[in-house]
């Protein structure tokens, strides 16, 4: 027979355990996720609801991203790069500074755009509402959204006119901040540090090769390229250069990067006319 004291100590013990449970950061459980089913997203005028994305996620996403959103779906062993672990709340493609959460719009855009050179396809077939619901679903996996607000998107000034001077100035930025250490002087991803790059989980990762015709991972527009090096790609070796490249210079760098790309462009023509040579890694600072 159980004494009253025993019953009380049992209850008290249970209370202590329940109080301590949120303090531990162990693997999320289905129960944790159920409690966050009310997560919302706001994209334009559309409000997305996590609970409405359950079926779509089960049907289209779970195979790679897994039931718990940790990227351990049944296809995981066959994929490289690996599917994102949504529980960590760390995302490559953001309009927000490094170390902050992306905006709902950022996640919405990533779902639509897909991720080039990975198994993440474009999901442009979804309606706006379906995509907004999936954004809310992605957010419900990470406790970060309960404790933090997304970062403030970086300011991108209007794109100036492309001029040969700007392309040349962009080349100076490329040399000064040493993009070539990983991306190589010709943009072929063959810089001295390229071979040893790893992502945050220690898996080998390649720098972007500008010359093989593929699209940058987080979008192909001039503004996308501006955003990539100013916010960095969190979870990868690509750092943020926001503190070290001024907005004006950033546009110069965008134009120079366009000139490095294999796709035909106005910038490439101009660089050709200028007879612009790759940067010299051994030149003293400021003397390219």
């Amino acid at each position: 027979m159980r004494t009253r004291l025993q019953t009380w100590s049992l209850l008290l013990g249970a209370a202590v355990v329940m109080a301590l449970a949120p303090a531990s950061f162990a693997q999320l459980t289905k129960y944790d996720l159920e409690t966050r089913m009310g997560t919302e997203s706001h994209v334009g005028n559309t409000t997305g609801h996590a609970k409405d994305a359950k079926t779509a996620y089960r049907r289209y996403c779970v195979g790679c991203h897994g039931e718990l959103g940790d990227g351990n779906g049944e296809n995981n062993p066959y994929l490289d790069p690996k599917p994102r672990d949504f529980q960590l709340g760390v995302f490559k493609c953001r309009s927000t500074p490094t170390g902050t959460l992306p905006t709902d719009q950022d996640l919405f855009d990533t779902i639509a755009r897909g991720l080039d050179r990975s198994n993440m396809p474009q999901w442009s077939t979804f309606t706006t509402q379906e995509r907004a619901d999936l954004v809310a679903w992605v957010k419900h996996y990470s406790p970060r959204w309960a404790n933090e607000k997304p970062g403030a998107p970086i300011d991108i000034p209007a794109e100036p006119e492309i001029t040969p001077e700007r392309i040349k100035a962009g080349r100076d930025v490329f040399a000064r901040v040493q993009c070539w250490k990983c991306h190589g002087v010709t943009g072929q991803a063959n810089g001295p540090s390229a071979a040893t790059l790893t992502d945050d989980l220690g898996r080998p990762i390649a720098a972007f090769n500008f010359t093989e015709g593929s699209r940058p991972k987080c979008g192909d527009s001039d503004r996308d390229i501006y955003r990539i090096f100013m916010t960095g790609l969190d979870g990868t070796p690509m750092p943020s250069f926001a503190d070290n490249i001024k907005p004006e210079e950033a546009w110069d760098l965008v134009f120079y990067l366009r000139a490095l790309m294999s796709q035909h462009s106005k910038e490439k023509e101009m660089a050709k006319k200028l007879d612009l040579k790759p940067v010299n890694p051994n030149a003293p600072a400021g003397q390219q």
Binding site: W8, L12, F25, Q87, L88, G89, V90, T98, G99, T100, S142, P143, R144, N147, E148, R176, V177, Q178, K181, C182, P192, S193, T196, L197, T198, D200, G232, D234, G235, T236, P237, M238, P239, S240, F241, A242, D243, N244, N282, A285
Partner: protein, 245 residues
């Protein structure tokens, strides 16, 4: 009815107990400053620390010609003193989490981190600087699930210092992807801390009298603990001896 009265009794007892703890905590705080001192040693011969091949970056090679760089896992000084061990109070610290106002500097110098191990109080601001004429990216890797958020920022030559703080206690590896040999540690603890010097000695200051458990941490994940008593006017003492892994 009976149940309810018991519940009230239990909860009021809990409230009284927690008030008592708070009161005691304050009293101990006001009781003045004691300290904990000691020496940390490495058992046996110091393991050989491999040299570092920096040929990826001619600047780094040149910066280290005078004294070739080597790994810093075990920095053993005179009479076996072990450097870069972080000591902190893991139990018994009731002080409020007022972060130290001192702003420690984590410098990138000659393509190495200086210091190799930086101890910090949770919430304490620190500065990341670069003394090098080459671009670094400073990339700490906390576990985002602990509430510390990873970030990754570049520091080209002449870049301004970066000021940051870590929210919660955690051992955080720091790396530079451009120079993959660059590995450092941010050891974030709650409350006062100390790091051993070249002779393996340390002093944790601002410890009020009381009974504590002191933890000694050595990279990557070795820890040892000891019970220490600090009395008024009498510093506590704890020596540790690590075994090379």
């Amino acid at each position: 009815m009976k149940m309810r009265s018991k519940l009230v009794a239990v909860s009021s007892a809990l409230v009284i107990a927690s008030c008592g703890v708070l009161f005691l905590g304050q009293r101990v705080n006001a009781a003045g400053e004691g300290k904990i001192t000691g020496t940390v040693k490495l058992d046996g011969a110091a393991p050989h620390m491999k040299g570092i091949d920096m040929s990826k970056d001619p600047y780094c090679v040149k910066a280290n010609t005078a004294s070739p760089a080597h790994l810093q896992t075990y920095e053993v000084g005179a009479s076996g003193g072990l450097q870069n061990v972080v000591l902190y109070i893991s139990e018994g610290w009731t002080g409020s989490a007022t972060a130290s106002t001192e702003v420690p500097v984590f410098d990138q110098k000659n393509c190495m981190y200086s210091p190799h191990v930086l101890a910090l109080d949770a919430g304490q601001t620190f500065k990341v600087t670069s003394s090098d004429q080459t671009t670094h990216n400073i990339h700490p890797l906390p576990n985002p699930m602990t509430g510390n958020i990873p970030w990754n920022q570049s520091q080209p030559p002449g870049a301004a210092p970066i000021e940051k703080a870590w929210k919660n206690a955690e051992v955080i590896p720091v790396q530079c992807n451009i120079h993959p040999w660059m590995h450092g540690w941010h050891v974030v603890v709650k409350g006062p801390y100390a790091t051993t010097d070249a002779n393996g000695t340390y002093t944790i200051n601002n410890v009020p009298p009381g009974n504590y458990t002191v933890t000694a941490w050595h990279e990557p994940d070795q820890t040892m603990t000891q019970k220490v008593t600090v009395a008024a006017g009498k510093p506590g003492s704890a020596d540790f001896t690590f075994k090379a892994k």
